[in-house]
């Protein structure tokens, strides 16, 4: 079966005086099957959120998607759609929820209004029917006393509740793909697990695919089928979740794992990756990670392609060649 979403060589360009143009997203390719969850993992500034926005053509100006990129949703090239058709994709086929539930809801409208707005945008249904759907969605995302919450304003709800409302709004268009951009980063730890659990359960019941964007490898296990690790605008390692956790291969991925505290295994020191992701204008030639990499490879000055390290496991590192 063909994948639901196929992203090929996605590149986002921002004008830059010194260099003539930078690519914060630089040749990202991945596929997403129906019902599958793919986690996109990386530090702040690696281009993961921008990649997600690009899928919906919401790259903030003056950025734009470079020609040669392709985002194919079930046979349709999203990047070639006119505005009207694009609006029928946004929300209806691909929905997105954002990081901060405090600012993702419009402060002057009730929760009910914001859900029915999306229902009305995509379905020709009478008002009462839209309201019934909104109520059903609020129940589905686990909001207690949903009937009275329909008329609540966002400021009357807690952060966790607001994120649930955001999810209900995203589901209102009955999308095939849900993009969750750091859906739990702004929430309390106890609420994070609940929201992730809810997302996973809704994905299963609605038969959606999910693109889960996170900087936290800890929430990936058990929730994503596959993981793509991003660094400096590129995917540097891609594998099934099991394979990645069993054998993180790219030095960057290994660094990410070493910097996360573990509950099992011997007690050791956390090993932070030195430095931060450089801005796109300062990316080194060749391997982008070489300025922070503990390993110096003879071919670091050349950009490595995605190389196979195992079945359905590849990485953008010359070490893969040596291992074979």
């Amino acid at each position: 079966m063909s994948p639901l979403l196929e992203v090929r060589d996605l590149r986002v360009t921002f004008p830059d005086r010194a260099t003539g143009g930078v690519h914060p997203v630089d040749g990202v390719s991945f596929e997403l099957a129906r019902g599958e969850t793919l986690a996109l993992v990386g530090e702040s500034g690696c281009g993961k959120s921008l990649s997600a926005l690009a899928l919906l053509r919401l790259v903030p100006p003056p950025g734009r998607i470079a020609s040669g990129s392709a985002v194919v949703l079930d046979g349709t090239d999203v990047l070639a759609l006119d505005d009207k058709s694009l609006r029928k994709v946004r929300g209806r086929r691909i929905a997105m929820i954002f990081q901060d539930p405090m600012t993702s809801l419009n402060p002057v409208f009730t929760v009910g209004d914001q859900i029915t707005e999306v229902v009305h945008a995509h379905f020709k249904v009478p008002k009462q029917e839209a309201r019934d759907r909104a109520l059903k969605l609020l129940n589905e995302v686990g909001i207690p006393d949903a009937a009275s919450r329909l008329d609540a304003y966002p400021h009357q709800l807690s952060g966790g509740m607001r994120q649930r409302v955001m999810i209900a709004i995203a589901l209102a268009g009955e999308p095939e793909l849900l993009i969750a951009d750091e859906p739990t980063t702004a929430l309390d730890v106890t609420v994070q697990a609940q929201i992730l659990e809810l997302l996973d359960q809704l994905r299963a019941t609605h038969g959606m695919s999910m693109l889960l964007i996170t900087h936290d490898l800890g929430i990936v296990a058990g929730r994503a089928d596959r993981v793509a690790v991003m660094y400096a605008g590129q995917i540097v390692e891609q594998a099934s979740t099991a394979a990645l956790f069993a054998k993180p291969s790219h030095p960057y991925t290994q660094g990410l794992f070493a910097s996360v505290p573990r509950l099992t295994g011997p007690v050791g020191h956390l090993m932070p990756i030195p430095g931060t992701v450089p801005p796109p204008s300062a990316w080194p030639s060749g391997c982008r990670f070489r300025t922070r990499c503990p390993i110096v490879h003879a071919r670091s000055a050349e950009m490595p392609p995605m190389l196979q390290v195992g079945p359905e496991h590849s990485m953008r590192c010359w070490l893969a060649e040596d291992q074979q």
Partner: protein, 281 residues
């Protein structure tokens, strides 16, 4: 659509000045609406021989003017005209300003640059000067045209205000979220951005009404605004000018009406401004 206007209003009323302004405005509005019905029609009560320029008395609490018309009755009728002119003109300029500000702020780039440079240029021309020119060029300007001209010259400040708000809100996550869920430009502008600028817009409208009352009074005093015999406060002061020493009440009472109304509007507007600010911060 239920914007949190009630809570903004409630917050405004919590301030003493806001309450005082609101009460005064309600009294003035009722006076403008009801008093002309109860009082004799000034247009028909000419009693030139012995009724002219009578000082205030039980029958004529504000006295009579040189055409022996009841000043109280004229002030009440003038309130209708002056307030109507101000409210309609401000409604017009607020609408224009909001649309221009929304478009410039939302689309940004070249659109924004062109629109806002035009606004900057237009702002360099003093409004009163422009109005005098327009009004002088057109002999016997109809009332509707006067309203139109005042409204069409008053939107510049509002457009800047709304644009600034839109620039701030455009990056808000709820705007991106609405777009991600399929809202087009028009829906984002009018359904998501505009309602979030209601606070500053209400303040601008309120203070704008005060400005326009003064502006219209000024024009009418110069004989370029509302034309006699239609009563307006500014026009009445002009009519009383020649008898200012012999019969000061002819000018005094419309003058007091202007002061009271503008004061009430500014008190309320200022309280509204504070309420809107405290909400956004």
């Amino acid at each position: 659509m239920t914007a949190p206007a009630p809570s903004l209003l409630r917050r405004t009323m919590r301030v003493a000045n806001g309450r005082a302004g609101a009460v005064a405005l309600v009294v003035i509005a009722l006076f403008a609406l009801a008093a002309p019905l109860a009082l004799p029609d000034p247009a028909t009560q000419f009693d030139i021989v012995d009724g002219a320029l009578r000082p205030p008395s039980a029958i004529h609490p504000f006295g009579t003017d040189h055409l022996s018309r009841d000043v109280l009755s004229r002030v009440a009728n003038g309130a209708r005209i002056s307030l109507a002119v101000a409210v309609i003109a401000v409604a017009l300029s607020i609408t224009l300003g909001a649309v221009v500000g929304l478009v410039a702020g939302f689309f940004g780039g070249v659109t924004d640059t062109i629109v806002m440079r035009v606004v900057d240029g237009a702002m360099a021309i003093p409004r009163l000067f422009l109005l005098l020119l327009l009004v002088a060029a057109w002999d016997r300007l109809p009332l509707a045209a006067l309203i139109l001209v005042i409204g069409a010259t008053g939107w510049l400040g509002t457009s800047r205000l709304v644009r600034a708000e839109v620039l701030r809100l455009r990056e808000a996550e709820f705007v991106r979220s609405a777009q991600a869920l399929g809202a087009g430009a028009r829906r984002v502008m009018f359904r998501h951005l505009l309602p979030n600028t209601i606070g500053p817009l209400a303040v601008a409208a309120m203070l704008g009404v005060g400005d326009v009352i003064l502006l219209e009074a000024g024009l009418s005093f110069l004989g370029l605004g509302v034309r006699p015999p239609t009563p307006s406060w500014g026009g009445m002061i002009l009519e009383g000018k020649d008898v200012l020493q012999a019969a000061p009440w002819v000018s005094l009472f419309p003058g007091l009406a202007i002061v009271a109304t503008v004061l009430a509007i500014n008190l309320f507007g200022e309280a509204l401004h504070r309420a809107a600010e405290s909400r956004s911060s």
